[in-house]
């Protein structure tokens, strides 16, 4: 368990399975497909750690992250999507979900 995430981020351990996602398309899809309760729980746990996580990750070369660091990176990238539901859209999310599915991500620097 100790190597799942870098030191200081143990609070996110229960969320690694579901939210450490590779690829922007998959991250965007998970945001929409997740159960609202799970999504809210992930946001509540991850949002306060965003700044600390990026500060930690910025000290490592981006293309040579350890598996634990990569997991943390992927979770923060998923948080980017999830935060839009939790912070901005609120109860507009269900209507928005259907609209969003028509916007197909084809390319991102993080890997589509």
């Amino acid at each position: 368990m100790s190597t799942l995430l870098p030191a200081g981020f143990a609070a996110l351990t229960p969320f690694t399975d579901c939210w450490a996602i590779s690829g922007s398309i998959a991250r965007a899809a998970r945001r929409g497909d997740a159960h609202p309760t799970d999504r809210a729980a992930f946001f509540a746990a991850a949002a306060p750690l965003l700044d600390a996580a990026l500060t930690h990750l910025d000290t490592c070369p981006i293309n040579a992250l350890s598996p634990a660091d990569q997991r943390l990176m992927d979770m923060m990238l998923t948080l980017a999507h999830v935060s839009l539901t939790e912070e901005i859209l609120g109860d507009q999310e269900p209507a928005h979900y259907r609209q969003r599915r028509a916007m197909h991500i084809t390319r991102t620097p993080a890997g589509a």
């Binding site: 923060m76 912070e87 916007m103 197909h104 991500i105």
Partner: protein, 397 residues
């Protein structure tokens, strides 16, 4: 902007037919799309000699091959083998030293010249006459434009003062981008218009678009508009007192810091350009997106949205800031699609003879005016040509 200063655009109702009539669309294909510079890509897609991209221009039934030659020059060709017309390249992009036709293996260089063809001495033509058909190409602000007719003006002359503006937009320095694409059951003008008026912001984007509206400007009307030839510009008004959410504030804060460090935070952070006929680009350094609306038929279009970035992701914060900016722009664009399609369904019925633009929809009126002018001029040209069949009938009478 005072309503009087826009009087030159007129105030009449706008005929509705051009937004759904297939005959009108057929005229637009030639009058507008074959006679304009069209934005199709970015120089960062062609980093090396031999780099190529294929672009489908459905509105003109054309497939284009854009290649960086051995001499470093970027050229555009029709993706069509000069032997018997086979499409030469199937991949969307790649890198090659030459292009060999899958049918009988004629092969072409990165400059379009026919290099070799099996058994060529049995043909009745010179190699020099078998080069790939060239398409006019020009570049401004890192953006690649093509012209599938005969350009009357170079791209920079056509853009006038907006060429210099484009040079100052973040996209001019881009080396990579994020992209998302949507198909929409709506006419290209109806779709495009949505993105050049702010009247709808408070209704369609009440939360995602909150930073662009405020108590003293509830509709988020622009601070400034400008026009040059068929093109136009607008300066976005921003709420001086926004209330960003914590993750949102951190995300855009990071993006803004990178833009400052990269020197992409230029003069135009609140400006956008709406370049005739179908290209839109925003100068914002944190979310520097472009949006091209491609017509497919009278009732269908495709939007291609790109966020242009300078430099590779060199650290986690930069990667994160880009993912957030893309996700957040995509959210806003997603909100527009449904309502545009609903508009098209209403127009398709033919129930309306006219639609209406208010003063703050001046950019929409300007687009319509230019399209109308170009189509009218093209119709006049057609009318001046006596159809050969008619001439023959007259001669025989």
């Amino acid at each position: 902007m005072s309503d009087d200063s826009l009087a030159w655009l007129g105030t009449d109702p706008i005929p509705a037919a051009p937004y759904h009539d297939p005959l009108w669309f057929g005229l637009e294909r030639e009058a507008v799309f074959r006679r304009s510079w069209l934005q199709i890509g970015h120089v960062c897609e062609l980093p090396d000699s031999g780099s190529f991209i294929r672009r489908e221009i459905e509105v003109l039934d054309a497939s284009l091959l854009i290649v960086r030659g051995r001499d470093g020059e970027i050229r555009a060709f029709h993706n069509v083998c000069t032997h018997r017309g086979t499409q030469l390249v199937a991949e969307e992009s790649g890198k090659r030293s030459n292009f060999s036709c899958p049918y009988h293996r004629w092969s072409f260089g990165t400059d379009g010249a026919l290099l070799a063809a099996p058994d060529f001495d049995r043909f009745f033509v010179d190699k020099a006459d078998c080069a790939l058909p060239r398409v006019a190409l020009d570049i401004c602000g890192g953006l690649i434009f093509v012209h599938l007719g005969t350009p009357e003006k170079s791209l920079r002359d056509d853009l006038g003062p907006y060429a210099t503006m484009l040079d100052g937009f973040p996209a001019a320095q881009a080396t990579t981008f994020s992209e998302y694409v949507y198909d929409i059951d709506a006419n290209w003008k109806l779709t495009y218009d949505n993105f050049q008026e702010n009247y709808h912001l408070r209704f369609i984007h009440p939360r995602s678009g909150a930073p662009a509206v405020g108590e003293d400007n509830p509709f988020g009307y622009p601070a400034k508009m400008g026009f040059h030839g068929p093109h136009r510009t607008q300066t976005i008004w921003t709420n001086p007192d926004p209330a960003p959410k914590p993750v949102q504030a951190q995300s855009f804060g990071r993006a803004a810091r990178f833009a400052m460090a990269d020197g992409t935070a230029g003069l135009h952070s609140r400006d956008y350009l709406a370049l005739f006929p179908n290209f839109f680009i925003l100068g914002s350094p944190a979310q520097p997106f472009s949006h091209t609306v491609w017509p497919i038929d009278a009732h269908r279009s495709r939007g291609v949205i790109r966020l242009y970035w300078k430099g590779e992701d060199d650290c986690a914060s930069r990667r994160y800031a880009r993912e957030y900016a893309m996700a957040s722009a995509r959210d806003i664009h997603a909100e527009d699609r449904d309502v545009i399609e609903a508009g098209q369904r209403g127009l398709n019925s033919g129930a309306l003879k006219h639609i209406h633009f208010q003063a703050q929809e001046a950019l929409c009126r300007h687009l319509f005016n230019i399209v109308y002018e170009r189509v009218s001029a093209y119709r006049a040209e057609l009318a001046a040509i006596t159809p050969p069949a008619l001439a023959l009938a007259e001669a025989q009478a």
